[in-house]
Symmetry: C2
Subunit: 413 residues, 2 copies
């Protein structure tokens, strides 16, 4: 017997037919003797519909009331899944965030989970019951409904799994696992049977859209194994576990786990900057104040007495705002010209194995150089190297790196 959380996203809950399929997956786990809590998203499209209502009601909508409105989407799917499970003979019941309760901060629409009371869940499990819980929401200390922000259902699932000391948290989604790279670009991409939390965090942060980054971070802190699998196809998925447990899963350690790409960055170059201390702070402090996430930064090495340039990336969605802020501070910062470019792409290689292999980055640069792909910026972390290139070369770069690191799947001939 295992105790598991099963989480289903909006595509899996889109309509009664799909909910019925989800119920059959839940039933299988219960019949295998497991204790199951199910965390559900709203039907695909429903949250967008509700957000649109709020926007139309008032452009300056109150986050507290926004939460009341959007939380209804998961309330509906929770009730419907409980009804469907009951119709299949299971002892199922829904529990809203305020009923457990799932206590959150009062930061409406971006709340954090403080604490989850699992007493009623324990009581339900003792009677062979299945608990259905709406993801993405809880109740704040003042008794108001609070949502965790878009994609928060993954985080709800991991937090509930940790609170109820589950053996694992199964995230059912519309892909069947984590791949070495995007299979639409590289048909020979391989599904990874297992990755580490850190690798998944890095992959999620650079464009692999399988899981919400925040949920992976939480799973890592709580050491809660996650399994990513498809709700549509009955195939083994990908386990996400701690670095120390990789070998228990019988995996030979790879140098590189995956190659990711991200076209959501935009490049800003400020030219003719004075070469004075505090220049970087003058640029980046206003970005931070506006909540704009600056990623890659390249400063041309200045020669004494000469002007210098600064290049950095921001999310494409924030480019207009960032450019506007910088333009207004032009005199204060002292740059002569600002260039922006959205035709860029960030290519990343991720792998715990690179820690002990100093040649990994060099292989990346050489591989790209061999194809005449120009590198605009570079950032590195412990287990990741990212380069910014022209958008047109995205697919080529992903393919050649995937081959260079030996990730291509063997095709039987």
């Amino acid at each position: 017997m295992a105790r598991i959380v099963m989480k289903f996203g909006g595509t899996s809950m889109a309509g009664i037919e799909r909910i019925r399929h989800v119920a059959s997956l839940v039933k299988r786990e219960v019949e295998a003797g497991n204790q199951v809590a199910v965390v559900v998203s709203a039907m695909a499209g429903e949250t967008d519909r509700l957000i649109q209502f709020c926007r139309e009601a008032s452009s300056l909508y109150d986050a507290r009331e926004y939460d009341v409105v959007v939380a209804s989407g998961e309330q509906v799917t929770s009730g419907l899944l409980a009804i469907t499970l009951q119709g299949m003979g299971l002892n199922a019941r829904s529990y809203m965030g305020w009923q457990l309760p799932i206590r959150t901060t009062t930061a409406h629409s971006a709340a954090l989970i403080d604490e989850i009371d699992v007493e009623v869940l324990e009581a339900a499990f003792e009677q062979g019951g299945v608990a259905v819980i709406p993801g993405f929401q809880g109740v704040a200390a003042d008794g108001s409904v609070a949502t965790l922000g878009r994609g928060g259902s993954d985080t709800s699932a991991v937090a509930i799994a940790a609170a109820m000391k589950a053996d694992r948290c199964d995230i059912y989604t519309d892909v069947d696992g984590v791949y070495t790279t995007d299979p639409r670009i590289v048909p020979r991409a391989r599904k990874l049977p297992v990755v580490t939390y850190e690798e998944m965090l890095e992959l999620a942060s650079v464009g692999a859209k399988v899981l919400q980054t925040r949920s992976v971070g939480l799973a890592m802190r709580e050491n809660m194994p996650i399994k990513v699998l498809s709700s549509f196809e009955d195939r083994p998925g990908t386990m996400i576990v701690a670095d120390s447990e990789i070998e228990e899963h019988g995996m030979e350690r790879q140098l590189i786990t995956g190659v990711a790409h991200d076209k959501n960055e935009a490049l800003i170059t400020l030219m003719g900057l004075p070469n004075t201390p505090g220049e970087a702070a003058a640029i980046f402090a206003p970005m931070a104040e506006a909540g704009i996430n600056v990623d890659m930064i390249v400063q041309s090495v200045p020669r004494a007495g000469e002007k210098t340039d600064m290049t950095f990336t921001v999310p494409r969605a924030s480019l207009a705002q960032a450019a506007d802020i910088l333009e207004r501070l032009k005199d204060k910062i002292g740059f002569s010209e600002m260039l922006t470019d959205t035709a860029v792409s960030k290519i990343s290689i991720v792998g715990v194995g690179m820690r002990s292999n100093p040649g990994v980055a060099a292989t990346m640069f050489q591989t790209l150089a061999d194809r005449q792909i120009n590198i605009l910026a570079i950032t590195t972390s412990e287990i990741k190297v990212s380069v910014l290139i022209h958008e047109d070369y995205t697919e080529l770069a992903v393919r050649v790196l995937h081959t260079a690191y030996g990730l291509d799947q063997d095709v039987e001939g």
Copy 2:
């Protein structure tokens, strides 16, 4: 300064444009210095959509989970109205049934309101706040969401008005008041400036669809004045008050307040019944057990030693079920033949004035006889006389009775 509850139905809340209009009506009351709680229904069509989901999920859906699903409709409109009111500069906030709380029985999907805690509302009013409350729902003693059944929002509004000791409860709907009869049948129907609770109860029970019967009964017990008015047209509505207060409203008492019709009845006749004691019980006890509401009953006066007939009405929706039960009991009851007829219509005259005027019923029968309209059954109450006629004569009967009791509006020539 007055303290009022404003209640808006599904048609008034159907979409952001209409919600904005509702908000403007609320704003007007607040700016007039009133303390306002608003009770809202779900958007028109939404509750049906959610019920349909439940039915598809399982034909034997659990009422507790059904309540979780359908309660979401009013949650959405409450949040959206609060947002809209805030956008107009008002200090508005939504309060779910479980947040106040509105305590109900655990009879899911048909719960009764036990008690409403108005402490948070009082606090809101003290700070000049407007409270928006989803109708139709509350929280049961076990902490589960419970709904009051279809049309329960009127009842919510009256119960909240009573709990907060409001001066009146304004029910905004898609008609602009209570009329002497259906204006689609009698163009000269008059809008009543005031009716008594008892008259409204009788009118509602015989087909005037303005208010949910239960809400009128509650208002009568709590002596809470109701005002029915249109959310679309700015015209005086109809006040519903206690009998003793009618004259305070400067009204000359009418003999008859209104003429109503109801095509939702079906006639069952059992022929060749034995003329023995307990025969009526043998027929109607099984109807009561099946929850079928038997209305008008006519028994032919039996002569000693002869067989007798029994005629009665049931709601059309229950006819098939009733006929099925009776057919199975045919031998036990001992009737020789069963006839059913759905082409019938119940015409009622209602008025507190008839208590002291014994000739009222006779006028009704004579008026119908003059037009060769055959009466199939008759029932009377203190302030109502109902007759069952052939459906084809519905409009004619309503028109001639409306004229006979002097209800036609004077048309300026």
